[in-house]
């Protein structure tokens, strides 16, 4: 066994000691992956794990390094890129990934990627010729 392998086991035993917390956050992430385009209901999710919503938020941030809201935003942007690459219109994409207005979607998309959805799509589609 290499030094590195020993170390990851040692550190893993310390930071991943609480199995029930790990199960809770992994299930939360899977829930967010399945429901990113809908209104995410963390209250309901917290109740099913018998923890408070705030505790769940803290746990998620502790293990994944970002809040569930930020995680969902990143997921929505990643999925919208895929839709745009596949030729879906910006308006359809906006609603498909769960945004309620084209304005807020475009602004956020530009902030995260440096381009508007229209510019991004134009660039991607011109690349394939």
């Amino acid at each position: 066994m290499t030094f590195y392998e020993k170390e990851i086991h040692r550190v893993g035993r310390i930071i991943y000691a609480n199995r029930s917390q790990i199960d809770t956050v992994i299930r939360t992430r899977k829930y967010l992956d399945r429901n990113y385009e809908a209104n995410v209901n963390l209250n309901l999710l917290a109740r099913t794990h018998a923890v408070s919503k705030f505790h769940l938020l803290r746990l998620f941030k502790k293990y994944y390094g970002l809040t569930p809201a930020k995680y969902v935003t990143d997921k929505r942007i990643a999925m919208s890129k895929q839709h745009l690459e596949n030729g879906m219109s910006a308006t359809q994409t906006c609603f498909a990934v769960g945004f309620e207005s084209l304005g807020s979607f475009s602004t956020l998309f530009k902030r995260k990627t440096g381009k508007t959805p229209f510019e991004y799509q134009k660039e991607q589609l011109s690349r394939s010729f």
Binding site: T2, F3, Y4, E5, I8, H9, G12, I15, Y16, I22, V25, I26, R29, Y63, Y64, E123, R127
Partner: protein, 131 residues
């Protein structure tokens, strides 16, 4: 400022190009000849071709401290860098089939699953899946 290039030191650029494209599945983006047979050789992920480029740089051949650092990381089994995959076990099975050697088999740790492979050019590379 933008992150556009990250580099990996390799002992043989041509061999690394073959390994990273044919086995790991990256795509060659830039290949610019430099002096002394060296190249500015970059790769991108197949599904993020406008993402950051991976520079395969021949540093260990020309700069002793880089060679020493790379050798010591290799000996300790420490990954030089890591790549995200959707499914570590699936990638492990695919790569083992292609003859790639692993020093750490797929290992679940908390919210992660990791495995560590040998890139045949002086580096350990970690594959990571977020659970």
């Amino acid at each position: 400022m933008r992150v556009t290039v990250i580099s990996i030191p390799v002992l043989d650029q041509e061999k690394a190009l073959q390994f990273y494209t044919l086995k790991l599945g990256f795509i060659k983006k830039r290949d610019i000849p430099l002096d002394g047979g060296n190249r500015w050789l970059t790769l991108v992920s197949k599904d993020a071709q406008d993402g950051p480029e991976l520079l395969l740089e021949p540093a260990p051949l020309h700069f002793e401290p880089s060679k020493v650092y790379q050798e010591e990381l290799m000996k300790a089994g420490i990954p030089y860098t890591q790549f995200d995959v959707d499914d570590v076990q699936k990638e492990y099975d695919r790569l083992v089939e292609l003859g790639v050697e692993f020093s750490v088999k797929p290992t679940a740790m908390g919210t992660l699953k990791v495995a560590v492979l040998n890139d045949t050019c002086g580096n350990n590379i970690q594959l990571v899946e977020e659970l």
